[in-house]
Subunit: 390 residues, 2 copies
């Protein structure tokens, strides 16, 4: 048996394409499947998003679940964001390890082992807030924080209609606020009100109708809290799909949109703008893939399959490198099938085909590296430090 | 901004549950979502599989795409396997870095950057073979190997009906063998004949019928090669679904089955045994998940969603920790929904629910750690070194 090789550290941080950074024509030499970030489109998206929130007096707290990448979080904060959201404790730990220290964890953190890890984040001086949706659990979380000498900021998680997490009626929400206010170890900071499914309703008017209906619960709760002298300092929520609506409604104080930086196939199909004054977000995230087999008429096989693209949403869409009308379908873990509109078409082995990614969050989660490109040159490679689940 | 923290090395290798190794009751303290391997079932599967192949004079070359884990490859080799298969160059590199040095890469390795990395594997003294399915590409691969002073072992990849990779007619296969024999830099070692979709045909008789039909091409090709004095030294193929058939047919010389070690929901539905003499493989791979919200009647939310389970096949199946008849559905990246048969049922926050995993290969790919359990004690944590795509 061969001797165990030490892992090359540079390789670990930037992957097998590190040698291509700054190399003219390096993009064509990329080993694939590789995620490619168009830096110009990405930077424009960040700028336009922050500008829109500034105009409406909303703070930005972009959701890092979309990118799981500390470099991107840093750029969002540099543009004006107050911090980031993470979907899990794992993502929060990954962000904090890279110096991103103002974090809202947008899902309840449950379990003794996880509470221990959460306390370790506080010990490291991070500004971390979490959401709660259960009185009894809020009390036991408070006890854990109190024992370790900390006070944990909490937002009350509201269920706007998904039935996933959160409380869905005013009475339960008020009781939770009372617990959060009365219990040592936790500090009531406000509310979280996120509506997931509504983000992807393609027609603006329909999304508007459904979402404003959902927001009535939030407005009523804020009014009830105000009456008790418990007006929330923070009301956090929103996504890329409701950005224009949240700007118009003015109920949220901070906004959690994440996908606007990338614009995947899903969001490409959604009408986002309420008016011509709203920004246009451009697709900045692509997957490059290589043609590896071409023995069947009318189709070729690429090296990007179930391990390269999320499979929960729409299919990847070819954006460059193949004839117009070429369709992608999954062909197993490591393979995709490209079917040509004209059966006599083909592509040579080694051809690079670029795709707009399906649902960007779980797609990013499959990868370790973002290859950052400006004017067809790879200018950097960013590690996706928050991928994984544990 | 906080100072960037150094990554704890032990943590990196074994994850946040490292402190639970050997701890009585540690399994109940696992932070989740976490993959759990039942070592007893796993060891029995490895033993039974090797015994079956030994009986029929077939060499084992288990597919590491199912586990991507060097410890498992080592156990398979210790039991008698000649080496492993990997689905990609990336997996091969990960295996070799851990000392697994006899590898067949079962998909064409295409692209200049990848060929360079392939040559680096040879330079490190690995016994690596690859498949080819294109004459022109075989010649350019041979040239690359020759330039770097190596001879690359190749198998001719045959298409048994999927249309994904491989050649599908005898003439093309013979021409490829001729190229492989006549070209400096590559060495013709034999054939690969893998049939993917047929593995999951649930009824044994139907699978038998379809597969034996597909094997006619392989038998005819071997006869034609034999006539030319080019009988393949290696005929590699097969999966868990065709194991009994491959043992009966006696055409393959080495067998690539991978999933038999874990037995996921997909293979749980497939009749694998030709007779009572064939082994029974037991489910050894589970995902443990925690209940994190319980505010909706008749359902609870767990912390295992799209980032924990592959979504290309059947749904995860509850195996323990919830009432009989509880059904799982996806609830976003980080969440799953458990729906109870009796709407008055519920589960306390923090409850651990165990699942049989859907399609094991892409499920394993989502995780970094396997928590290895014997008699309810975590005895080790193995890293999934080959996950990822680049």
């Amino acid at each position: 048996m061969a001797i165990v090789q030490p892992v090359d550290e540079r390789r670990c941080l930037t992957g097998p394409n590190a040698r291509l950074i700054g190399k003219p024509g390096g993009l064509r030499e990329l080993t694939t499947p590789a995620l490619v970030l168009d830096l110009e489109a990405f930077e424009q998206n960040i700028k336009a998003h922050q500008h829109q929130l500034n105009l409406h007096g909303l703070r930005a707290r972009p959701h890092a679940k979309s990118h799981k990448c500390a470099e991107i979080a840093r750029k969002q904060i540099a543009a004006g964001a107050v911090g980031v959201c993470t979907a899990s404790l794992h993502e929060a730990e990954a962000m904090l390890a890279q110096g991103i220290d103002n974090i809202l964890i947008t899902s309840p953190v449950v379990g003794a082992g996880k509470l221990k890890r959460l306390m370790q984040l506080l010990e490291r001086g991070a500004e971390v807030a979490v959401v709660v949706d259960d009185q009894e659990y809020a009390a036991s979380m408070a006890a854990a924080a109190h024992r370790s000498g900390h006070v944990l900021d909490v937002l009350i998680d509201l269920d706007l209609g998904m039935g996933r997490t959160g409380v869905s009626n005013i009475e339960s929400a008020l009781q939770l606020v009372d617990v959060a206010c009365a219990t040592e170890g936790i500090s009531y900071r406000g509310l979280q009100a996120y509506s997931g499914r509504v983000q992807h309703i393609t027609e603006f008017a329909e999304r508007d109708h459904v979402y404003t209906g959902q927001l009535r619960f939030l407005s009523a709760l804020i009014a009830a809290l105000d009456k008790r002298g418990l007006k929330p300092a923070i009301v956090s929520g929103g996504g890329t799909g409701t950005l224009a609506l949240d700007c118009r409604e003015g109920i949220l104080t901070e906004h959690q949109a994440g996908s606007y930086i990338f614009m995947d196939v899903e969001y490409g199909a959604v009408t986002l703008r309420a008016s011509d004054a709203d920004p246009v977000f451009a697709t900045s995230l692509f997957l490059h893939s290589t043609v590896i087999s071409k023995n069947v008429r009318g189709q070729v096989t690429t090296d990007a399959g179930l391990k390269s693209f999320a499979t929960d949403g729409p299919l990847p869409r070819v954006s460059a490198g193949a004839p117009v009308g070429t369709a992608y379908s999954f062909f197993g873990d490591e393979h995709g099938c490209l079917t040509f509109r004209t059966p006599t078409d083909s592509l040579p082995l080694g051809s690079i085909v670029a795709f707009v990614t399906p649902h960007c969050d779980p797609t990013i989660n499959l990868h370790d590296y973002l290859h950052v490109v400006r004017h067809d040159t790879i200018v950097d490679i960013w590690q996706i430090v928050g991928r994984g689940v544990l």
